[in-house]
Symmetry: C2
Subunit: 298 residues, 2 copies
């Protein structure tokens, strides 16, 4: 049985590491903040004090970190994975970062005989807890086959997209659609209310037709109940949109609609709402329209 | 049994009139172009030569017309519904027009004792043929109850939204979401391809996650097969977005994302692609990015 390492035990990482641990694998864990390390150790994990230590003592290392610089630091920084890992190690990055950075990591680790996969996820904290995430994988398919039994403890849909970086491209594509739906939902709710209709009736009328989406199935009800807690935090949606716009610029891809969405999420951060759910982008449209969503509207 | 009139036998109207006719109702039909009138007469309908004639000889009149001026002309113009209709007539408008115009029609017809409903539909030509449309209804609920058995021959989801005009508001809300999804789909496909991934794999990876929508379920496959035929014609999507933007301006509702979508559909018309499916908005993103979607990509 493969020995597993897990680095980055935030909202997503801790649930995923726990699923792997409870799935019967030996798991060594490391995290900057130590409380969650103690918690997982009490459930049977082994404690480590650096990424290098994790890499030196395991067969597969997973990371789940906020952004590109964090991943580069954990992989190539002092006492990093690259320093501790021996040839044959497999490295799986669940972080959402720039596709170009994932490609760079793949190439540089390959020189050391370490194989890597970019494997960003979608499905939020609930998906992480329940092990029902969508996992989009770039890298070598025969490496994916080796770790698939472990990934299956965390995700219900695991799709091999292609070579290194393509998992990140798929995640970026996912976020283009998710951001568009969140903003459109916010616009149509405020539009409906201010034009004189009952928003709840409008959602009921349209959710089964051509506009059908998971966003309309789940998010308006939360907003009608006055619930803007995450879920998926808006500052991460903003970060993902910035990854998309930077990547689009590098490859020469104009994205007019995603660009507007990126600006609206940046505005949301300026309103101080970055820790709210990504559906709370409605706060920006409320601000622009000078009204508040009628939360008694349920 | 109520005597039914149907005016406006385009792609949508002819299928809906046929469903009512084959549902056992006596149907009197009128249309500017006469071929489709002859066709329905051969199936059992009665021919009329003006909206007034239809209104004078039936209990419920349906219209399905392109835009606000067409509806105003058929209702209030010479030999219009208002001229021919007696008190007690019910008028149901399936056209997608400005909410304010629907309210105006409701009020002016009420003075003559004619009750009206705004009842725009979603679901395209296939939904019209199969009688599976989504119908969003504004007006008086007791009037809706009277015509519901007839509407049920055309739609599987019939939602009473509220007072006059609110059916149109729901349809506008629907089109805000549909346009956002179409544009986001176009952007994510071109993004994925130009950044170096297999678009088909990307769609497969994301369609079951947080990005899930009817648009991703149905439209990318058509585009991969090189099929840009309607479906729902882009010039109608552009018209609906212009209704949305005009209504938003009247009510003081800034809609940054819908505004961009409106501009992109206007650009699509300038490319001469207005008769294509609304998913062919990808032609605008292709033009901007200087690439064509790889149609062998399936």
């Amino acid at each position: 049985m493969l020995k597993v390492g897990y680095i980055g035990l935030g909202i997503m990482g801790k649930s995923m590491a726990r699923n792997i641990l409870h799935g019967g694998y030996p798991v060594m864990v490391h995290n900057r903040s130590r409380e969650i390390v103690k918690e997982l150790v009490s459930e049977g994990a082994t404690e480590a004090f650096s990424p290098a230590e994790v890499a030196a003592n395991t067969d597969v290392v997973f990371t789940n970190l906020p952004d590109s610089p964090d991943v580069l630091n954990v992989v190539f920084g002092e006492k990093g994975i690259s320093e501790g890992g021996k040839p044959g190690l497999i490295y799986v990055d669940h972080s959402t970062i720039k596709p170009a950075v994932s490609r760079q990591i793949y190439e540089k680790l390959a020189e050391k005989g370490i194989k890597s996969l970019d494997a960003p996820v979608s499905g939020g904290d609930i998906g992480a807890k329940q092990g029902t995430l969508t996992i989009m994988v770039g890298g070598d398919d025969f490496i994916l086959e080796k770790v698939k039994p472990i990934l299956s403890l965390c995700g219900k849909t695991i799709t091999y997209v292609g070579g290194p970086g393509t998992g990140q491209i798929a995640k970026a594509a996912n976020q283009i659609m998710v951001a568009a739906q969140m903003v459109a939902m916010a616009e149509l709710l405020i539009f409906s209310q201010k034009a004189g209709a009952d928003c709840k009736k409008v959602v009921e009328a349209i959710k089964a037709g051509a506009a059908q989406c998971w966003t309309l199935d789940v998010k308006p009800q939360r907003l009608f109940e006055g619930n803007r807690e995450p879920g998926f935090k808006a500052y991460l949606q903003a970060k993902d949109l910035n990854i998309i716009m930077e990547t689009a610029r590098e490859y020469g891809i104009p994205l007019p609609s995603a660009a507007i969405d990126a600006q609206l999420y940046n505005a949301m951060l300026q309103l101080g709402n970055g820790q709210q759910d990504n559906s709370a982008i409605i706060s920006v449209i409320e601000q622009l329209a000078g009204v508040h969503l009628n939360e008694s509207n349920h």
